[in-house]
């Protein structure tokens, strides 16, 4: 594909300017509460990217965001605004836990496959109900998917309190998964290769899976017939219908795939990190996925990059919370500013720059 000048501006320059604005305002706020913004920035960068330990957490968060970001993106290419990633990922966690707890796996690789199928099926199932209601009954997907988040939370709570909780335990959580399903962490993978990676961090093999999922999704959307149909349907439903594309089929495929990808997040969070089903296995990642996908322009590469940025914000934020007296609410403010500037206020930066470019182009063509 030929990249034009304005494409490059769109993908590189505008996000960087937006980020710069977001971080500048964050710095002003941090200075406003009497902390040193430069110290805080240094602490965030060194804590999140300055050591194997930092990367271990940054990549762990990024992996979650990649899965749910891709999930949102695939539905969005069909112009289906799936805000149910949170609930679909919760069901994915449930599927993962049921498979991991009830089947005696001989080896982690088989367990990963089995749990992956469980997670994807449960997540897809949770997305297909709203998809069917949208395609057949016209129930708006934004409303139904957000409702399904609450149903998922209630279902998980019911199961954890009444059925999955080990006898005598006070905490609402399932039993620990058996040792055989323990996924290799990045430390386990990299130490035979001579890299010393931090032992205690949760980043694990699913980080590679998430990148593989991003590549596969790119191939699916831009190199297959169904992917083309999804994008056509998204650009114009009427045109798609006229071209013989079945809206019902496309809605179900896009949403099913979206739910399955969201469900796969559980491989990282539930199977890789907590190694048991806990009450809130997604922790809002499903919603961050929306921001990540919008920031990455719903392109897999953009989503991977945006996910790493948000992983950095999460892990850097944790370091701030550990070693300074900056309250955690302020860390949420920083994350929110990034979302605000890169997502909602995109045109504020885009329009002046496009005008500037158009003017310089006109000047050049005149000359």
């Amino acid at each position: 594909m030929q990249r034009t000048m304005s494409d490059r501006v769109d993908i590189v320059l505008i996000p960087i300017i937006s980020l710069f604005l977001a971080f500048s305002i964050s710095a002003l706020i941090i200075a406003g509460i009497g902390e040193d913004p430069f110290e805080a920035a240094a602490l965030m960068v060194s804590g999140a990217l300055g050591s194997a330990y930092g990367w271990g957490y940054t990549l762990y968060y990024a992996t979650n965001f990649i899965f749910v970001g891709l999930a949102f993106a695939v539905a969005f290419h069909a112009r289906l605004f799936n805000i149910g990633g949170e609930g679909q990922a919760m069901l994915g966690a449930l599927g993962t836990a049921l498979v991991a707890l009830h089947i005696p796996w001989p080896h982690w690789s088989l367990a990963l496959l089995g749990c992956g199928i469980g997670a994807a099926l449960f997540g897809a199932f949770w997305a297909l109900i709203p998809a069917w209601m949208q395609a057949r009954r016209g129930s708006h997907i934004v409303i139904t998917t957000i409702m399904f988040n609450f149903i998922a939370a209630a279902l998980l709570n019911y199961l954890l309190v009444n059925h999955l909780r080990p006898e005598g335990s006070v905490a609402p959580g399932s039993a620990l998964f058996p040792d055989a399903v323990h996924l290799p962490t990045l430390h386990d993978i990299l130490s035979p290769l001579g890299f010393a990676f931090s032992k205690s961090t949760p980043a694990n093999i699913t980080a590679f899976l998430s990148v593989a999922a991003a590549i596969l999704l790119w191939f699916f959307l831009w190199r297959t017939r169904t992917g083309y149909e999804i994008r056509t349907f998204g650009h114009s439903e009427n045109a798609a219908r006229y071209a013989g594309i079945d809206p019902f089929r496309i809605t179900l495929i896009a949403m099913g795939l979206s739910g399955a990808l969201a469900g796969l997040m559980a491989l990282n969070a539930t199977m890789g990190e907590s190694e048991r089903l806990i009450l809130n296995p997604t922790e809002g990642a499903g919603f961050i996925g929306i921001a990540v996908a919008l920031m990455g322009r719903c392109h897999p590469l953009g989503i991977v990059l945006a996910s790493i940025l948000f992983g950095f914000l999460y892990q850097g934020g944790a370091e701030l919370a550990l070693w300074t007296s900056i309250p955690r609410e302020l860390i949420v403010v920083i994350q929110a500013l990034v979302i605000l500037f890169t997502g909602a206020l995109d045109n504020m930066v885009r329009m002046p720059i496009e005008r500037l470019l158009a003017r310089s182009k006109r000047a050049r063509s005149k000359a």
Binding site: E39, L43, Y57, Y60, Y61, A153, A154, N157, Y158, V161, R165, E167, G168, S169, V170, A171, P172, G173, L176, S200, P202, A269, E273, S274, R276, I278, L279, N280, P281, E283, Y314, G317, A318, A321, L322, W323, T324, S325, P327, R328, I331, V332
Partner: protein
């Protein structure tokens, strides 16, 4: 970085040692001071740390009690302590390890949700003392502190049973988890013991952790219980309590607070509060010594870990008969004559209502 801070002098202004040493050998004072600093620094400046759960530290309830205890230690000793409010599950292990690696001692965790993580982390840091509240972790460097909430909720149940005029009382719990069901069960048993005719209406605010901080829904549930003729409502819902107590005051019925003493929030409407002295646990642990060494502490009515709040704000509501009944039940439980059923033992509640 503002991690470590060192006092300007190792002797604070009101330290009795300061005068004697400086008067005797003024010129050596600086030298002695710096020598002492070198010798005792690793012990004295091992900062204690406290980790609050996802609910946050200012929840007007459980975690805030822990903060109060930590702050009391800070105010009394002038020492600084490390603290973090968790934002995500993955930070649980992270915070424990980071504090332990930086030499924080003891590390106090406020909440049962830390148990599984602590089992994994504690063996890696044998030099660090960990204190976990509301759960038991067996390790040579962990002090586990658990509360028999069912005992104290039995007591407030007795008071509710005696105070009701409609033979209907209610409880609004926070999140529907075993711990809150245990409280609800003890409460129902207490009500039944004091007033066999009484009916107990049970509601939980929700099924997600948002239930701990949803005063609006708590208030709605309270109003609905009042509409069902309940005239005493027990609020066991963390930060949601403010809404429950407010709604009870608005409806002109009685309420019962929990964790910290909430009698003062609506004098004349809050019948009493079930006290859970988390602040003392944190304070004692920060002071070091036995409270931060290995073992299990079971806090109940007998050892002052739990109680009911009687103060000037509810003096008019508690008559002599009620006071006598509470004292009697208190003695019976403390001496073991009454054993209040513990819901988490068998996931069942023998209360009829």
């Amino acid at each position: 970085m503002k991690t470590y801070h060192r006092p300007r002098s190792i002797f604070s202004a009101d330290d009795p040692m300061r005068g004697s040493i400086s008067a005797a050998i003024p010129r050596l004072r600086g030298l002695v001071g710096s020598l002492l600093l070198m010798l005792v620094a690793p012990m004295v400046w091992a900062q204690p740390a406290v980790i609050y759960d996802l609910g946050g530290k200012f929840d007007k309830s459980f975690s805030e009690m822990a903060y109060t205890g930590a702050k009391r230690w800070g105010d009394e000793t002038g020492g600084r302590f490390l603290e973090i409010e968790l934002q995500s599950e993955a930070q649980r292990e992270q915070a424990l390890r980071r504090f332990a690696e930086r030499g924080a001692n003891p590390v106090v965790m406020v909440g049962f949700t830390f148990a599984t993580t602590l089992e994994i982390v504690a063996p890696d840091y044998p030099e660090t003392n960990f204190v976990i509240i509301d759960s038991v972790v067996e390790a040579p460097n962990v002090r586990s502190v658990v509360f028999n909430e069912h005992e104290a909720s039995y007591l407030v149940g007795v008071m509710a049973g005696l105070a009701t005029r409609t033979d209907t009382v209610g409880i609004v719990g926070g999140m529907d988890i075993p711990l809150i069901r245990r409280v609800a069960c003890g409460y129902a048993l207490g009500v039944e013991a004091a007033n066999p005719e009484a009916r107990v209406i049970r509601n939980m605010t929700g099924t997600t952790s948002a239930a701990w901080n949803d005063p609006i829904k708590g208030a709605e549930l309270t109003r609905s219980q009042a509409a069902q003729k309940a005239d005493v409502v027990f609020a066991a819902a963390g930060g949601t309590n403010v809404g429950i107590l407010q709604a009870a005051a608005d409806e002109g019925i009685l309420s019962i607070g929990a964790d910290s003493n909430q009698n003062h929030l609506h004098p004349g409407s809050v019948l009493t509060s079930m006290l859970k002295r988390v602040d003392n646990i944190v304070y004692e642990a920060f002071k070091g010594g036995e409270a931060a060494s290995a073992g299990v502490s079971v806090m109940g009515l007998a050892n002052g870990g739990l109680g009911v709040a009687l103060d000037e704000h509810n003096a008019d509501l508690v008559d002599a008969k009620m006071k006598a009944a509470v004292d009697e039940a208190f003695d019976a439980i403390a001496s073991g004559r009454i054993v209040v059923h513990n819901y988490t033992d068998d996931s069942e509640c023998p209360a009829n209502s």
